[in-house]
């Protein structure tokens, strides 16, 4: 096992939204802090730093993970996608993002990047989800503004549009 002194910084290399990046971080730095404050990708939000609210969720090698519960050093060699990388190729809103806007699935939008990340993986794994399954997936997120109805609708509609249901 690699031994790192307290305070020592190591170089972490990984892919961020499709582009190779490298950054220096102390071993104790959380991934959320690396993304936001070192790499300046402010789209990832932090709401609790103890793993409950889900606001900080990003995709690491396609899996939705809480970036407040992961050390920066753990993404060495991985592919990380944040909300900035979720838009479609031409930079417009993806189907899922557009559905969020259409269904008023956000108000303050602070929880939204994390929910988009979870929903992205969820829809990949499950192309014809039931409302119950969508709600169950959302149990890992807290939205204090919307009451979730628009979010559930937007995710179900996206699945439907993709021809799943």
């Amino acid at each position: 096992m690699l031994e790192i002194e307290a305070g020592e910084k190591t170089t972490i290399r990984f892919t961020l939204n499709g582009k190779p990046v490298q950054a220096q971080a102390e071993s104790r730095m959380q991934l959320a802090d690396l993304l936001r404050h070192v790499l300046k990708k402010y789209g990832t939000h932090v709401g609790c730093e103890h793993g409950i609210c889900g606001a900080c969720t990003v995709l690491v090698d396609g899996r939705a993970v809480r970036s407040c519960l992961m050390f920066a050093a753990q993404v060495e060699g991985a592919s990380v996608v944040t909300v900035e990388g979720l838009s479609n190729a031409t930079g417009g809103l993806s189907e899922l993002q557009a559905a969020f806007r259409r269904h008023h699935a956000l108000q303050c939008g602070f929880c939204t990047p994390g929910i988009l990340a979870s929903a992205t993986q969820f829809l990949q794994d499950n192309n014809a989800p039931s409302e119950h399954e969508v709600r169950d997936m959302l149990s890992g997120h807290i939205c204090r503004c919307t009451g979730y109805t628009g979010i559930v609708e937007a995710i179900l509609m996206t699945a439907q549009k993709r021809g799943g249901a």
């Binding site: 096992m1 031994e3 790192i4 002194e5 307290a6 102390e26 071993s27 730095m29 936001r36 990708k41 402010y42 789209g43 939000h45 932090v46 709401g47 609790c48 730093e49 103890h50 793993g51 409950i52 609210c53 606001a55 809480r66 519960l69 050390f71 944040t82 909300v83 900035e84 979720l86 838009s87 809103l93 993002q97 969020f100 806007r101 008023h104 956000l106 108000q107 303050c108 939008g109 602070f110 929880c111 939204t112 990047p113 988009l116 969508v134 709600r135 169950d136 959302l138 149990s139 890992g140 807290i142 204090r144 503004c145 919307t146 009451g147 979730y148 109805t149 628009g150 979010i151 559930v152």
Partner: protein, 993 residues
């Protein structure tokens, strides 16, 4: 679109959303508005009530990367206490001065080059406390033996006033029935997902503080903050970030931190950023007031409510922080609710307790009022043997009585309450629900129906805060009144439309709705209107009433924008009239073009007209004074100061709401299943129905949370027990039932669009609607939310649902332990080594040091006593525990008993364990353990759920390492061990969710 079609009233998509959905929106913690930012971390009191004997910051100051440490002495030297309405003797500084009065109160601020270093340095600040007996319950605060929180003031009762309207005593004397209800309404925290944040900069050359913060108003607090900082208005410039991650009122409470961080920046000589973490937010941001209410209703024989007698005891937490005691008065001028009550007496008291200070949280003063009132109505219906809906229909203001002047002075301007109630009954299928209830009861099930009503106030008249003063006191103080809204409409030299508004939104779509409003007035498309909602006190469009509270957006801010738009349109029409050769009032502004049906020329682009006013200022049309930059204020003149009888119009507009729920309770688990929830609102005209729906659903989520899950919970010693999202539980998608929304529309004559407000809505009414249904289902009269399955289960068995916050659990039978701690557990592990070897290892300090996770040293201080230094990390917060361990009842090599007591920055812990070793018959050992522990201080705030998990992980890690050691491997040490402990912890936190 024809001229008659308006943008207002349509559910267009929001202009805010694209930036939010793509990660481009900028929130408080995304800002770096000045060069040279450094970062603050706040040391907080682990005691709810303690004298501060000394604070030693030298070691912290010496840590490389630390710039400065701000202490209470600095705060006292550089500022004044934050003023309040009642007394100068109730001193409130933004940090604990000499005495800490609530768990989590700031004690010192460390400013460092980065946040990690600042937090490291907190560990090095040494504070000596002398804890005192805390006052936690508001009724205990009244007792003469209770600790007096503010000795200079001399009493925990910080406010007291009585009021009388009409002749309630005469009505009570002649009443056919008197119904009473007492409620101790708990405190909640709105918990926006974005926490508080402040960046403060001090310019020594002109003594000016510039502060960026997600403070949301009311900006009446700007002069109060200036006063505390001892500066003039222009020396405190407040700027809000472009986006705010929710508030629901609570970000009003940022202002003490504006003062604190401004002082920190001044001391550090550098701009300082502070972003609150969630633990700080739950402990020390703000919470709604708690209220103990006794309400009595006097009814005649037919069930008409003649009079009310109210006694309200408000828990404002440790300090009387402005605007409180305002929560006690927000509903004062509508104390009759939606009912025709002409006689009311009120006895108000506010007390301080060792809890977090109060402030705006969704519904401000509303839930605390409607809960007891609407419970009392249900108790009355039961007493009359009358249907709960019928009793209410009998008492509500009749539709032909509007405008209705309440006995306390409000003018309910419009409404049709009966129609709303009937709409609720119809949508819910009331007769069928009653039949279902019949059937369910025959089947022995707990099925209940609940109904509740409320009047919701919009655009508060600032004057209501002054009801806390007597008329004589008011005459001597600065008069306050009004509920102004402001907006500015600008058209630039290229003809673009820019609108500045003063509503400081936190996600409510104000920019979209405002674009609709202005588009209608000046004839452009909403997407061509750029709305700027960030507020800068160096800008023009703000006033003392600015901010996001009491539904002022849909009422006064949109009205102001309409006026500003009309002023702009007047200029555009004048410019067009000249070219079109018609009178200005014949000019139509539609779809970006100005035209006149009978005019001689082709239509003109509106953009071009605006450009012309800039470029050709020497040739302005008649009556036009320059290019378009139109500031308008909408300030209703009806909102004046209270009269000598304490009557006043507390608000500009009054909405109405009726909620109805049907639910079933599983008596084996205490779980509530919502069958149907209907909410009917009359909020006048709807400006953007989709945005309105979002407000109703969001308000419902808050109301449902307060009813079923959420509560700021303190132990008997004032230690916070709801310090993480694991223990302060916000509803997630699976818990929230669907809600059926119905709108009844009676426009308000008092606002320019006929709109009222509904932002508080269900957050005020859902808790009592649920309570009424639960009472109906169970027959329990005395109900206090939240109705968590466990609490309800106890209630249904006639037991105290809150016993755990009051006393220790009773000893379990058969336990070998004497300490009956809150954290308990037992387990068995198989170890592949002979019993004697396990025994020897467990009793050898040198060996134990490498086995105990996070152990830095362990020394024997006697034959049976040891001292260990152990680092424990919980949820990102680490602390070194100096732990004294003692061994008893040693029966080598079979069993021993251990007791330990540890102290750290995180607080106290004490525990006891009983360990037995048995041979497994195959050369190995079976180790069984049982433990019981108690924690206090900061660590306790993590809550039982999280701590139980932490203990399990630490134990698992210990036994892993013990096995590894006995296999001859060396468990890794130092940092990596900590990191791995952390890791396990993270895995646990990630949990099954």
């Amino acid at each position: 679109m024809s001229t008659s079609e308006k943008w207002v009233g349509r559910s267009i998509e929001r202009f805010e959303d694209e930036a939010l959905l793509t990660g481009q929106a900028r929130f408080m913690d995304d800002l770096e508005p000045v060069a040279g930012l450094c970062y603050a971390a706040i040391l907080r009191s682990p005691h709810s009530c303690a004298e501060i004997l000394s604070i030693d910051v030298e070691a912290a100051r010496k840590l490389p990367g630390v710039i400065e440490v701000l202490t209470p002495d600095d705060v006292v030297a550089m500022s004044k206490p934050i003023g309040n309405l009642i007394s100068r003797k109730l001193q409130y500084y933004p940090c604990a001065v000499k005495r800490a009065r609530y768990f989590g109160e700031p004690v010192a601020v460390v400013i460092a080059e980065d946040r990690y270093i600042a937090e490291d340095a907190l560990d090095l600040v040494v504070v000596k406390y002398e804890p005192k007996a805390a006052v936690v319950d508001p009724e205990d605060a009244l007792s003469s033996s209770a600790t007096v929180l503010h000795e200079e003031f001399g009493s925990n009762v910080v406010h007291e006033r009585t009021f009388q309207y009409g002749d309630p005593e005469a009505q009570f004397a002649k009443a056919a029935k008197v119904v009473a209800c007492k409620v101790n309404y708990p405190r909640v925290n709105s918990t926006p997902i974005e926490t508080y944040g402040v960046i403060a900069d001090f310019d020594a050359s002109n003594g000016r503080y510039t502060v960026w913060s997600n403070f949301q108003g009311p900006f009446a607090l700007h002069p109060i903050a200036c006063d505390a900082l001892r500066v003039k208005g222009h020396q405190l410039r407040l700027i809000s970030p472009p986006s705010s991650g929710g508030s629901f009122g609570i970000k009003q409470g940022v202002y003490p931190y504006i003062v604190l961080l401004a002082l920190a920046a001044r001391k550090a000589g550098r701009p300082v950023k502070w972003i609150e973490d969630r633990l700080e937010h739950l402990a020390a941001s703000s919470a709604s007031t708690g209220r103990v209410t006794t309400v009595e209703g006097a009814f005649d024989a037919e069930g008409h409510l003649l009079a009310l007698r109210l006694s309200q005891l408000e828990n404002v937490g440790a300090y009387l922080r402005p605007p409180d005691p305002a929560a006690l008065y927000r509903m004062h001028s509508t104390l009759s609710g939606p009912y025709r009550i002409r006689h009311i007496s009120v006895d108000n008291k506010a007390v301080v307790t060792n809890q977090v200070p109060s402030g705006l949280n969704r519904g401000f003063g509303g839930p605390q009022f409607y809960y007891p009132l609407e419970r009392m109505m249900d108790l009355a219906a039961a007493k009359f043997g009358m249907d709960a809906a019928e009793l209410r229909l009998r008492n509500v203001v009749r539709s032909d009585e509007f405008p209705y002047d309440t006995v306390t002075g409000s003018r309910l301007e419009s409404g049709d309450y009966r129609k709303c109630i009937e709409a609720a009954l119809e949508r819910a299928g009331y007769p069928q629900l009653l039949a279902r209830r019949e059937q369910a009861r025959r089947d022995g099930k707990h099925f209940g129906i609940g109904i509740a009503l409320a009047v919701e106030t919009s655009a508060s008249n600032m004057a209501y805060v002054n009801l806390a003063l007597t008329h004589a006191q008011r005459l001597k103080s600065l008069p306050k009144s009004g509920a102004a809204g402001r907006a500015r409409v600008i058209m630039d030299p290229l003809g673009s439309v820019i609108v500045h508004i003063d509503s400081v939104p936190n996600g409510q779509g104000h920019r979209t709705v405002m674009a609709q409003v202005v588009a209608d007035e000046i004839g452009v498309l909403p997407e061509d209107v750029e709305v700027v909602s960030d507020l800068d006190t160096f800008g023009g469009a703000w006033s003392i009433t600015s901010g996001n509270y009491s539904n002022r957006f849909s009422t006064v801010v949109t009205s102001a924008a309409k006026l500003a738009g009309q002023q702009a349109a007047r200029k555009l029409r004048a410019a067009a009239a000249k070219e079109l050769g018609v009178d200005p009032d014949q000019v139509q502004l539609v779809n970006g073009m100005a035209s006149a049906p009978g005019g001689k020329n082709e239509p003109i682009q509106i953009r071009r007209l605006a450009m012309q006013l800039h470029w050709d200022a020497g040739n302005l049309p008649d009556g036009v004074d320059g290019s378009i930059s139109e500031l308008a204020e909408f300030s209703p003149s009806s909102l004046t100061v209270p009269d000598e009888h304490d009557r006043m119009r507390s608000s500009l507009a009054y909405s109405f709401q009726c909620d109805l729920v049907a639910l079933e309770i599983n008596s084996a688990t205490g779980r509530v299943h919502i069958e149907k929830y209907v909410t009917v609102h009359d909020a006048g005209n709807l400006l953007n129905p989709a945005v309105v729906e979002g407000q109703v659903r969001g308000g419902f989520a808050h109301g449902f949370g307060a009813g079923m899950l959420e509560r700021v919970t303190y132990a008997a010693d004032g230690t916070l027990l709801s310090g993480t999202f694991q223990d302060y539980m916000c509803p997630t998608a699976p818990e929230l039932p669907d809600v059926d929304i119905v709108h009844v529309i009676t426009p308000s004559p008092n606002t320019l669009h006929g709109a009222k407000g509904l932002g508080d809505g269900c957050s005020m009414l859902t808790p009592v609607t649920l309570a009424n249904a639960i009472a109906d289902a169970t027959g329990i009269k005395d109900l206090t939310p939240p109705f968590l399955p466990g609490r309800l289960w106890h209630l249904m068995r006639g037991e105290d649902p809150d016993a755990f916050t009051r006393k220790r659990q009773p000893p379990e039978t058969g336990s070998a332990l004497t300490l009956k701690g809150a954290l308990r557990g037992d387990g068995t592990v198989a170890i592949d080594a002979p019993r004697q070897q396990v025994w020897d290892t467990l009793l050898d300090p040198a060996k134990l040091k490498s086995i105990i996770p996070g152990c830095e040293s362990i020394d024997a201080t006697g034959p049976e006593t040891f001292i260990a230094r152990v680092r424990v990390n919980i949820a990102g917060i680490g602390g070194l525990y100096d732990t004294k361990i003692r061994i008893f009842d040693r029966k080598e090599p079979q069993s021993l008993r251990l007791s330990g007591r540890g102290e750290s920055k995180l607080g106290l812990g004490e525990g006891e364990a009983f360990v037995t070793l048995k041979e497994d018959g195959g050369g190995g050992t079976v180790l069984s353990y049982e433990y019981s522990a108690d924690v206090g201080g900061r660590v306790a705030a993590f809550g039982q759920r999280m701590l139980d998990g932490v203990v399990r992980i630490l134990l698992a890690s210990f036994f892993d390492r013990l096995r590894a050691y006995l296999r001859g491997e060396t468990p890794s040490s130092g940092l990596m061990a900590t990191v791995r402990g952390w890791f396990a912890m993270l895995q646990m936190l990630r949990g099954p969710k």
